[in-house]
Subunit: 339 residues, 2 copies
DNA sequence: CTGTTAGCGCTTTCAC
DNA sequence: GTGAAAGCGCTAACAG
């Protein structure tokens, strides 16, 4: 593989000159530049970013570590981050944490080994985790997404309380008094925030609060079981709020298995929107997160943080809470026509 | 940031000894090893993979370049590749080609700059592209997925002809004589193979072939338009085969807009399965690709290829065609109960 | 069992 | 406008 040295020899100039024409980092006479370009083509030179990275100690790459890559919600966020990073000349290492703290630590270490300039992380544990400690002690620029578990880092997510307010409000407007909530995996920051938000919204609306109407469904099957249990009770809720997209699949399967109809027998409002939501029967009313903006903002904060760390100026951790929206379709009891 | 040198000094040994205990690459006395470990902890040393990569000229990272990361089909494949690579100690750089040849070339170059050990690519163009040429002239180990456009590389995909045989056969068994086909983006290898397969299957079944019943819908809206057109004709088809998941969304929206019912007015068989497919109304009958296996196999072929290139033994390009399956639910006219 | 040292390919001062 | 040369942090002969 041709090196900068080969080019230099071929063009009868110094490696430093070659370096400068490649990077456009200092004036070079037109004639010299031409000879260098020619030499580059002649020897088939492609710059070695590894060597460069070692010399300048920056890789122009960032790590992203989230759970369940194949979940469309994270897929959208990953896509948005990738797009923004590519625009900024950064390349992303993608890792799945599988929501396993040990694995999470392992992949973060693997990313640090490869000297990513920074990391975007959706932490699996609330509070101080080994992963977060590792990131902190190694001074790795980092921004948290979705699960906002530590105030030590920049973080971007949505206003979950506000979201649940809309959900409960909308359902209450439909006359529902007993509303159940199938949250996501218990212990996750998002599930906690949404559950709290659900409680608060109930109170705000003056609705009686029944703790037994809150269930966590940490998987499709878990959510299905939770929904089945909830809907089989004599004092069953007349509406269900669901804390994330995966849980929604389980809930819908459960409802179908029971033989109930939506929204007549039970109204439904979900979390996370996607292209398919309107192909469901009935068309799903959901909270839509601004995934594109979440990803973009995360990337933006990260580069800002990286830059700050390099000039070691202390930037204080920034919290960004984006506003979700309620996409009203039919599962809530409304009858909005298809888009 | 602590280097191997700091550790060596702290432990009063040579850098080579430190290197060897870190990598377990030669015998070291227990006592020395202990001192080194202690020093590592004391100075807070974490190995620099960039420096290591430069020295050994291998990065233990691979690039993956596919279109539309947020498409669940690719999301699943990406997830599978990531899992397998992580298992093998490789980290993946993820790039979206956006199905744009120029951008594709750009990201492949960016990956090569970072000296990935190999690349997994879903090419956007059929035939020899600049990207493929670049990969070839730079001798970058590479395996093609999904769109199998060149015989010069290892490649893994599915038996598209076989898939379309199942689709047409199943629909024909339901008595359909006029079957339409909404393919994916025209010009893509998969769309071409599936269209050819569709034609062949028709012939095999002795069904009349009507070229006007084949439409390409290269996006949700495109597919919707194509379906609308097809279903508005007096001699409209009684069944529709759809070439990929995104097109299916458009088709379903079109059918709803027209006010037809599935499968009574028009039967439907799609391509690509996902968790949501059974929440649709009616539950979707689809061709399911073994995405997990596609990803795993691609990673497997890539590491094999990388190893071969290193010992520069010539491995001849391998073609892997996995078998898809027909997941029968209801949109085809069957009435399979929910799982 | 351990140390010395020459690279890996590139950037970047410093000097001309 | 250009070049010489000292690193960046690590590995792996080679030598002892």
């Amino acid at each position: 593989m041709a090196t900068i040295f080969d080019v230099a020899r071929h063009a009868a100039v110094s490696t430093s000159t070659v370096s400068h024409v490649v990077n456009g980092t200092r004036k070079v006479s037109a004639e010299t530049a031409r000879r260098v370009q020619e030499a580059i083509a002649a020897v088939g030179y492609t710059p070695n970013g590894i060597a460069r990275a070692l010399a300048v100690s920056t890789t122009n790459s960032v790590g992203i570590a989230v759970s369940t890559i194949s979940n469309p919600y994270f897929g959208d966020i990953i896509g948005a981050i990738e797009r923004e990073c590519t625009r900024l000349g950064l390349m992303v290492f993608l890792s799945d944490t599988h929501d396993d703290p040990e694995h999470e630590l392992r992949v973060v270490k693997a990313q640090h080994l490869r000297r990513v300039d920074g990391i975007i992380l959706a932490p699996s544990e609330v509070g101080d985790s080994e992963t977060l400690n590792y990131i902190e002690t190694n001074k790795i620029p980092c921004v948290l997404v979705d699960r906002l578990t530590s105030t030590k880092f920049d973080r971007v997510g949505i206003q979950n309380k506000y979201a649940m307010g809309m959900v409960v409000g909308h359902l209450a407007d439909h006359g529902h008094q007993r509303i159940g909530f199938i949250s996501g995996q218990p212990g996750f920051a998002t599930a906690i925030e949404r559950t709290d938000g659900f409680r608060a919204a109930l109170a705000e609306r003056g609705l009686a609060f029944d703790d037994t109407l809150i269930r966590s469904g940490d998987s499709i099957d878990g959510a299905a079981a939770a929904a089945t249990e909830l809907l089989s009770r004599p004092d069953r809720p007349s509406a269900l709020a669901v804390g994330n997209n995966m849980s929604m699949i389980g809930v819908m399967r459960a409802i179908r298995a029971i033989g109930m109809r939506v929204p007549e027998d039970v109204a439904l409002v979900g979390f996370d929107d996607f292209e398919w939501a309107d192909c469901f029967e009935p068309r799903l009313t959901v909270i839509a997160q601004p995934v594109e903006e979440i990803g973009r903002k995360a990337a933006e904060l990260l580069v800002r943080r990286i830059a700050a760390d390099q000039n070691d100026e202390a930037l204080k951790p920034q919290l960004v809470r984006l506003k979700p929206t309620l996409v009203v379709r039919q599962s809530c009891g409304c009858n909005h026509p298809a888009s």
